[in-house]
Symmetry: C2
Subunit: 113 residues, 2 copies
């Protein structure tokens, strides 16, 4: 039981991953890729309800993944942590590798059962 990481450290890392473990949050983050957007724009772009988008944005904000700026009635959100996209790219290539492996495993199956 010799441990490289403390429980708290692991909790922090896991919490970070958990933020990205939600399709809708990923969609929101992707929508922000091009620059800041208001909540309504994000609602329009994601197809989710306003309440939902707002909740997700708040969560991301509390973890400093996005930052925000108020202008009149609107609130504009933008990506605060650019490592997000590196993470997603790594995961994407990892998934491609996994799918490719699955494909090959299927192809390796005896031609005539």
């Amino acid at each position: 039981m010799r441990r490289r990481f403390s429980d708290e450290a692991l909790e922090l890392v896991a919490a970070r991953f958990k933020l990205l473990a939600e399709p809708m949050r990923l969609r929101i983050l992707d929508a922000l890729r091009g620059g800041e957007k208001s909540v309504s724009e994000l609602v329009a772009e994601t197809g989710a309800s306003q309440a939902n988008v707002s909740k997700h944005l708040n969560l991301l904000f509390r973890h400093r993944m996005v930052s925000r700026r108020k202008e009149g009635l609107n609130v504009y959100y933008r990506i605060a942590d650019p490592t997000i996209f590196e993470l997603c790219e790594l995961v994407c290539s990892s998934i491609e590798a996994e799918l490719e492996a699955s494909r090959k495993a299927l192809a390796r199956r005896p031609a005539r059962a």
Copy 2:
């Protein structure tokens, strides 16, 4: 609602992140950093129950994050997807940045309230 990613693609990416969003799985993966280990070794090293370790390993295996080798009564697991560690390093530095930002925010508070 112009979308860069399909729903399925986002589900896949989110599922991948979800795998890493569990402290115990991170601990197991970290234990495998040095090379393959048997289930009992992992149980000893993580302090979790055998059933739990087994379940986590199975989940990781089904997603091809680890692979395994049977030898007699033992089953040896090893990391199959090395991008895991890159992911964790990115997240760690991102967390450090977040904590540093929080620290500075605190320090910026008026000296005498």
